[in-house]
């Protein structure tokens, strides 16, 4: 199987597409509108269970997702053939390599640029706010949340077969989309993505009410980079930042 893109409803839209025969290859397109990170499909139920190889079109962010999914034991990298590409100034360029390890140098260079790349004027504005102002900002943004969970479903890292908000015996997290419920959901997700988000933007684009989710995830990425020198998706053996422990840790507490 090859996972790629095909034309969508309108000229600027692309759809994820799955092909199984060489004849179907004509259905695929690759251009600067192919921005969705497709890696989440690899962990959909049953897709890799026949142990056959799957080829998948991925930008560098998607390639980093493969590393994380492998590091978290969600897939076997030997099964994944990467058709790597990048988009710069609306131009698509092919990336050298097929196996995820072959992109290590590329990812290293992305990490070096990360402190600048993660900067965002709105994020800086929010950081300059008082805690009360910041709370008000997010309360307003989250007030639109309808708990459709499009952010979760679009995210390659949200692969849990049963999300914490779906654990209902008892119901740990309110399902209601009132102020408390919306804060609970969005903050739970932000923590679970800390050190795991590659900033692909799938969640942000999927949100039907346009909550700026990228800001939360970019902030958490800055935090783990600054505090732990951790950049998500460096390699398929990278220890998850929130699931690793050192005996000589300088802190006296955990979280």
């Amino acid at each position: 199987m090859v996972i790629g893109y095909k034309p969508g409803t309108t000229a600027d839209r692309r759809r994820p597409h799955f092909i199984r025969t060489p004849e179907e290859a004509d259905q695929l397109v690759l251009d600067s509108a192919c921005i969705t990170n497709l890696s989440g499909y690899l962990v959909s139920e049953g897709l890799l269970s026949d142990e056959k190889a799957v080829a998948i079109f991925l930008k560098p962010d998607g390639i980093r997702s493969i590393n994380i999914l492998a590091a978290e034991a969600q897939l076997n990298i030997d099964q994944i053939l990467i058709l790597g590409f990048d988009i710069n100034d609306n131009q698509v360029t092919a990336l050298e390599g097929e196996k995820v390890e072959e992109f290590a140098t590329l990812i290293e260079s992305i990490k070096e640029q990360a402190p600048d790349a993660l900067k965002n004027p709105l994020l800086e504005k929010i950081e300059g706010m008082t805690p009360k102002e910041r709370f008000t900002f997010w309360q307003k943004e989250f007030s639109r949340c309808i708990k459709c969970y499009a952010c979760r479903q679009a995210c390659p890292m949200c692969y849990c077969r049963r999300c914490i908000v779906d654990c209902n015996q008892p119901q740990w997290v309110n399902t209601s989309s009132h102020t408390l419920g919306n804060f609970e959901w969005n903050i739970v997700r932000a923590f679970h993505l800390s050190g795991r988000c590659v900033g692909c933007g799938n969640c942000d684009r999927a949100c039907p009410v346009n909550i700026p989710l990228r800001l939360i995830n970019a902030k958490m990425a800055q935090e783990v980079l600054g505090s732990f020198d951790h950049f998500a998706g460096m390699s398929h053996t990278q220890e998850p930042v929130l699931a690793s422990f050192k005996k000589d840790d300088s802190e006296t507490f955990i979280l």
Binding site: R14, K147, C148, Y149, S176, S177, N202
Partner: protein, 337 residues
Amino acid sequence: MTRILQSDNLDKCVARWREAGLTVIGPVKNESSSSYAAVEKAAEFDFSLIMPDRSIKELFFPQTEPMLQYTIKKQRIDTSDFTPPPEKRIIFGARPCDASGLAIDDPLFGWDYKDNFWFQRRDTTVIVTIACTKADDFCMCTSLKLVPDSTKGSDVLLRPLQNNKGWQVEELTDRGRDAFNEIADLLQDGSEPAAPTAVVAEKFNLDTCVAWLQKPENFESTFWREISMRCIGCASCTFLCPTCHCFDFQDEGDTYSGIRRKNWDSCSFALFTMHTSGHNPRATQSARWRQRIMHKFNYFPGKFNVNSCSGCGRCSRQCPVDMGITETLQAISTLQP
């Protein structure tokens, strides 16, 4: 001669309705999202939107709504009901597909049990619909046998004038007439022609699709798996849909007191049909997508004689993976019956 409401007079109308105790609601866009929201002045309306991102449904069937409060005491359990706020409202500038969606859901909410949360709001809300003069690639009302100037579900229909300076007024119900009597002196007689309604191409033949869906052998067709392979299982389509109406009950509180709430739920979610045993009769996403299509175009019309879709196209317009009812029914209409 027809009665005309000039745009310049709208602000006075809004003020008049507000003085009469009505909450005035209409299409509003803020920096990042649009919805039907309460306004204080006509300038807050945005009639340039094809339609707000969020459907009109949430004004009648909110995403979360308290139903009752309970307190468990030593000898007894006290409960008290919540009722919707008794405010009177006027929605100015509903889209015909949104207003139709409400009419489609009326029989559902009044079927074996009369849902007062729905009907109290329906009974106290005047719906003033503006006919569409433009459409986008996702609009599909005509495929659902509706039109861009449909009166279904509306109390008043307004047709934009060709000179873009107001609307022709067509009162449809007593509720609509009462609301417009409040502003009768702000209306004029005129002969200004209405702008042509939007041209919405028919995207699929509904009858062909319904015939295919009604054939029992097509329930197990491999078509469902193919068409829904890229569905990520979120509820964007169902929650933005003006007619999707499924909900769940949740008790929020501690052992001794809390609130029972009615929250939107979606057939897209795996949890929607999960049994306590762990068995899920709709175990795959394709079974869930099939349910959504079957419900709208087979089961719902079987029971209420109307399709549970008004053709707004939000499901496709907002889908993170560019799926939706249009694509599925277009594909079905090409299959052998």
